[in-house]
Amino acid sequence: MVDEQERLLPIANVGRIMKEILPPSAKISKEAKQTIQECATEFIGFVTGEASDRCHKENRKTVNGDDICWALSNLGFDNYAEAMARYLHKYREYEREKNRNSNSNNNQTLATTSGDNKDDEELHFGIEEQQVRQVETHQNLAPLEFQFIDKGKSSTSEPA
C-alpha cells in the first residue's frame, strides 16, 4: 500500500524553494503548495517518460542526464535544457578531473561529504553533492528569463 505522501515529492522542500525565491511578505495557501507539489511530481513523470521513450528508440536500457536534457528541450523547456546542458558539462569535467586525480593518488576518497548527514534532504551521492555546490557558487546557471507565451490574455501587459 503506497502512502499518498510517498508518491509525491516532500512538500516541505516545495515550501523551502518558495521561501528562497520570494520576498518574506509573500504567502501561499496550503492547497496551493499541495498543488505545486502535485505539479512537480507530474513534471518528473512527464520528462522521464519522454527521456525513456528516446532510450527505447535507441535500444538503450538506462536513462541518463543527456536523455533528461533532450527531453526537456523536446517538451518545450528549452530554457531548462540550456541550464542543464551547462550543468552536465561541468559535471563531466569534474568527473574527468576526479579520475585523473584518483589515478595519481588512490587515497583520495569521495567520503568528504558522506558524513554530512544532518539534513537527510541532501543528495546521497558525494560526488554530485560537491558538484552541485560548485555549480551554485560559480553561478553557472546564467540568469534565466521565463517567457510565457500568452494565449491572448493581455491583462498583465500594463504596469500596475
Binding site: E6, R7, L9, P10, N13, R16, M18, E20, I21, L22, A26, I28, S29, K30, E31, A32, T35, I36, C39, A40, T41, E42, F43, I44, G45, V47, T48, G49, H56, K61, V63, N64, D67, I68, L72, G76, F77, N79, Y80, A83, M84, Y87, L88, E121, L123, F125, E128, V132, E136, L141, P143, L144, E145, F146, Q147, F148, D150, K151, S154, T156
Partner: protein
C-alpha cells in the same frame, strides 16, 4: 520588438535555489511508471535540477497572478490562471483543473 508578455526574471537575476530533493524519492517517482527501466546514478540529480527550475517557474507564475489581483497570498486559483496562460505548462491543465479552489 515590444512584447506584451511579462518577462519574469528569477529574483536574484540567476537561479540560486539551494533546496534539493531526496535522490531516492526522485528515483522512485521516476520509476513509478512501469515503462521506465534503469536510471543512471547521476540522473536523479539532473532531474532535481530541472525540478528546481520548474518549481521556481510555477511559484513565480503564481506570485505574478497574486500580485495582479492585489494580494500577497498565492492561491490555487492564481496557479490555475498562470498555468492556463502558459503553453509550456499545458501538460498540467488536467491536473489543476481537477483541483478544488481554496
Amino acid at each position: 520588438m515590444a512584447s506584451s508578455q511579462p518577462k519574469l526574471t528569477a529574483i536574484n537575476s540567476g537561479i540560486d535555489v539551494k533546496t534539493t530533493f531526496p535522490t531516492a524519492r526522485v528515483k522512485r517517482i521516476m520509476q513509478a511508471d512501469e515503462d521506465i527501466g534503469k536510471v543512471a546514478i547521476a540522473t536523479p540529480t539532473a532531474v532535481t535540477m530541472a525540478l528546481q527550475l520548474f518549481i521556481t517557474s510555477l511559484v513565480l507564475i503564481g506570485a505574478a497572478e497574486a500580485h495582479e489581483s492585489g494580494t500577497n497570498k498565492i492561491t490555487v486559483d492564481h496557479l490555475k490562471q498562470g498555468i492556463s496562460n502558459t503553453t509550456q505548462f499545458d501538460f498540467l491543465h488536467d491536473l489543476v483543473n481537477n483541483t478544488k479552489d481554496d
